[in-house]
Amino acid sequence: MRQEATSFSAAVGGSQRSPGRAGWLLLAPLIFWAVAFVVAPAVIMLVYSFLSRGTLGGVVLDFTLDNYRGVVDPVYLQIVVRSLIYAGITTVLCLVAGYPVAYLIGRADPRWRNLLLMAVMVPFWTSFLIRTYAWVTILKSEGLLNSILLQLQLIAEPLPMLYTPGAVVLGLVYTFLPFMILPIYSSVEKLDGALVEAALDLGAGPLRAFSRVIVPLTSPGIAAGVLLVFVPSLGIYAINDILGGGRVDMIGNIIENQVKGNARNQPFGAALGTTLLVSFAIIYWFVNRRQRATFS
């Protein structure tokens, strides 16, 4: 019987049946939701992106391609590039920092696993705004870190840590690290213990064991983590605003500016949004296909 993988997790077993009328009927709510709240808003945004801005920033029914010309304008492209760089660095850092944590928790004694996971999640039950402002308190010129460094006489003058690109990356990594840890943990947890032991015992050394065996086996988790970190971090605007002193504008800030800010140009915001949405959809569909191919 032909088997079809359903997502990152491979479908196991051959009990997949052809859906009868009941099957389709039961699926109807899901289809309705997807159409009503994913497809419809996207279509409307697409339509808006071809309209013109009204005097007060709304839309008027004047068809135009100006908004898309704006998307490829060098002024905005430089910001797109910058966003890609920041998102990329954040993703790499999250991966490097998060993998060991996910691995440790995944292979830990079941008694401690849940507690460790909760320990990862608990900070994220506070408002992300307040967490980000707490970093301001830590990083500013008269803040915690500088005070400690000055006390220990490691520096003579306060270091300008806040309102720098570094601070923005710190804030991004802080916000998105759990989104990398959790999917990888999920993959690690499913690893066959014997396989891992074998890889590490057969004299290859931990580095090769990891790179040749363990990491590839956890690739679904890594892929999920990368998607969950890279893509949303492209669209943030609050973290870089607060920690970057408003100097590090990203795509999210531009879009926000068109809709809520000085520019009053909703159609342009819609055009940027549509472009991003289509790019994400393509990336996601592509990654999904590769995962399905690997696991069917």
């Binding site: 997949q16 099957g23 699926l27 899901l30 409307i44 849940n114 402002y133 499913k190 994400f280």
Partner: protein, 257 residues
């Protein structure tokens, strides 16, 4: 092997320090006397006392809890049903459907918020609880669905067959065999859903109304004026409650494995 473990454990320790440093700071500053929350001037409980009288903050907290609960309920139903249906039946459209379902999870919230607002305006739906819950569910239920799908992947099909063979009706097989099996995934998805909804700011900004302000929106508004320690206080209360809840559930779990 133990060397690797030890290195990873030390690293994890650092990561946890990293995670909790701002939390410790914000808890500490909730006891700070200075209103401007910039330098430490003295110890006080006044911000916690102020919370009690802060009707606006409490009202928004209530709104957030209502929204989060509704969101989680709908997300669990949609996510579990969706995951099970896609696992059970071979739909031609499953790939496309999945992409559509998972897209809101990764799309930047600004875009999600703007497009949903435009949708609600176009169909004439007035902003309020309904619109907030709809927007939250849209990016929360994929998490439930993903968690349940992962769990279903490890399901032994013989289990369900056995139940049916032993005289259970399909509904009984579903509720007495499948759902208990899926429970850990449902719970983790529900937790994720609840957490995301509770802290959600950007999408909510676009889809809420004056009467249905949520806690993050209220905090956002106040934080603009300057970080009032009462906001630290409410965050500390939040953390305290969740840590307590976590401990209790762990205790319970250990008593009844």
């Amino acid at each position: 092997m133990t060397l690797v473990r030890r290195i990873f454990a030390t690293w994890t320790g650092f990561v946890f320090v990293f995670f909790y440093l701002p939390i410790v700071i914000l808890v500490l500053f909730s006891f700070n006397q200075s209103k401007l929350n910039i330098v430490w001037t003295g110890f006080t409980f006044e911000w916690y006392a102020a919370l009690w009288h802060d009707t606006v903050l409490i009202r928004t907290l209530k709104n957030s809890l209502i929204v989060a609960t509704a969101t989680t309920a709908v997300s669990v139903v949609l996510g579990t049903a969706g995951a099970w249906l896609l696992h059970r039946y071979r739909y031609r459209a499953s790939g496309t459907l999945e992409t559509l379902v998972f897209l809101p999870m990764i799309v930047p919230e600004v875009i999600l918020g703007v497009s949903l607002l435009i949708l609600f305006v176009t169909i004439g739906l007035k902003l309020g609880y309904t619109t907030i819950v709809i927007s939250h569910v849209t990016f929360c239920f994929p998490f439930v669905m993903a968690a349940v799908q992962a769990r279903l992947a490890g399901l032994d099909p013989a289990l369900e067959e056995a139940a049916l063979d032993l005289g259970a009706t399909p509904l009984q097989a579903f509720t007495k065999v499948l759902v208990p099996y899926l429970m850990p995934a449902i719970v983790s998805g529900a937790l994720m859903s609840f957490t995301l909804s509770l802290d959600e700011l950007i999408v909510t900004y676009f889809t809420a109304s004056a009467g249905t302000r949520t806690l993050p929106l209220e905090i956002f508004g106040r934080v603009k004026k300057g970080l009032d320690p009462s906001l630290n206080a409410i965050s500390t209360v939040f953390i305290g409650v969740t840590v307590l809840a976590v401990f209790l559930t762990e205790m319970l779990r250990r008593r009844n494995p």
